[in-house]
Symmetry: C2
Subunit: 306 residues, 2 copies
């Protein structure tokens, strides 16, 4: 694979940035990768595990001379970071991000960037429930989609180059506009996460059922919810607050349908329930055929054990 | 392992019964296992794949001479099966079941059974999203809990023996009363399933987001919901209808909490959201420590691929 950017800077060294680093190195997509994290502790861990060729003490030092700067911090921290690094950005550098919300990030970041850099927002649809600098792995983006969300004024070269970069890390890429991105993610990610968090909270709160019972008998379905409800709270707080409208819209539809099903249960309408439950299988099949999940039972969790 | 029952009959040959069969055979827990399924097609598949030592054409033939009869049919079919097999049951036989709802099953089945058999309801907390005679595997019950839910008049010997049987198949067992069972399962299984079905239904219904988008970008969280929403519709219809009160109670609490979080998002109360999201991680940790799930990221789904 040819080098795509001479120097890449990753700001914020969590799951996404660390996975990017390992992937960039494995595929040799840059000559140098520089990192920066807000806390001393994270910078020290990064240095210890060899995450990034260099870890800088300040964000401005880190972006110095970088051809690509990727903001990998929680959504509500992006504006501040953009403001800080702005004076230090090299001419014709590309600034990108990996935030799960796009309209808000574009509003917050764009105003701070100088005219001589290209801002090309992006969002890799990949992740695990784990977070922090030690959670990354080079294969995270393989066969996953990365959405590229161009903003005006468009620089086609900068967009193409960022697309090639993500494709070189194993992703499939697609161009999307910010509002549609935020709606799609509200459906496929933000509402499901809030719902999972809520269900886990309810179980934790039940006085007549102990936490031990919830834990022991979780194999009956509940444990699938707990994986995504173990994701980073700060990151998710920011997502819910900044993709408010789309998330609330989906939650509104969700409660409407849930009420209809609750009513069917209450009045004993077996046909309505069965019809609803039957409809959902084709979506699951589609996800497996598209290679976005495994067809092995229980996601291929080891049988019996663990 | 010593033989625990001379002859076992499995009525209904789906995921649970087929897993029981392979486990019984591997551990040599019975001298003969006889099977029966309602449809000709399922009986033919069972014969073809060697599921059961003998597959009978009628339920009454199947239970003839059995020391243990296990009802593995959907919850609302159990009463009818009990009525059918009742005259053919051997004296001192044990009748059990694997239904996900216990109060209803006990009410429906008890009245049909003759006084000379022991009814010991049970519920193995194990399963996958797959169903049918070909979906079973011997390890399904290993390290999973099986709830034994005794009814009056209690025969301690019959209860002990059934407990030994489930333990021999690799399960941990616990005695529980029917109402508490139904409440615990409403929390850990029935409400989560209904919620997952609903979220998948909402995604499928959105006109502004295509099914293809939902499928492609499902790795953002949504796909975890689709696994349990792929479970057998008839089985789940019956569960919701027969554990109505507990399921509606949990759904009521769930919507209450969901509304509180929706409100926090609407008014931008970041602290309340963050606090809520932080609380749920300990439950996830507990599930992993109890060996009820894997700690590998993404449930240990294969990295990158699938």
């Amino acid at each position: 694979m040819p080098v795509i950017y001479n120097r890449i800077t990753l700001i914020g060294l969590g799951l996404i940035a660390s996975s990017m680093y390992w992937s960039i190195k494995r595929k040799k997509l840059a000559n140098e990768v520089v990192g920066y994290a807000r806390t001393h502790k994270t910078r020290e861990i990064a240095r210890k595990i060899g995450l990034c060729d260099r870890v800088c003490e300040t964000a401005t030092d880190a972006v110095d001379g970088a051809d690509l700067v990727v903001l990998c911090v929680p959504v509500r921290a992006m504006g501040e970071v953009a403001k800080t690094i702005s004076p230090a950005l090299k001419s014709y550098a590309t600034v990108s991000d990996v935030g799960s919300v796009k309209r808000y990030v574009i509003e917050q970041v764009s105003e701070h960037l100088p005219p001589h850099v290209d801002f090309v927002p992006a969002h890799p649809i990949a992740g695990t429930e784990q977070s922090g600098p030690t959670s990354g792995f080079a294969e995270l983006f393989e066969n996953r989609w990365c959405m590229i969300v161009p903003v005006e004024p468009k620089n086609e070269n900068a967009i193409d180059r960022l697309q090639s970069f993500w494709e070189a890390m194993g992703s499939k890429t697609v161009l999307m506009n910010p509002d549609h991105h935020d709606l799609v993610l509200a459906v496929t990610s933000h509402a499901p996460h809030l719902i999972a968090y809520t269900m886990v909270g309810v179980a934790d709160d039940m006085r007549r059922v102990t936490d031990e019972e919830v834990i022991n008998y979780s194999a009956a379905g509940f444990r699938d919810f707990t994986r995504i409800a173990a994701s980073d709270p700060i990151m998710w707080r920011d997502i819910f607050l900044t993709n408010k409208d789309a998330t609330l819209e989906i939650l509104g539809r969700f409660t409407e349908e849930l009420f209809a099903l609750q009513r069917a249960i209450r009045i004993g309408d077996g046909n309505q329930i069965q019809e609803y439950l039957t409809r959902t299988r084709s979506i699951r099949r589609g996800i497996i055929e598209a290679g976005q999940d495994t067809s092995a039972p229980n996601f291929g969790r080891e049988r019996g054990s663990s």
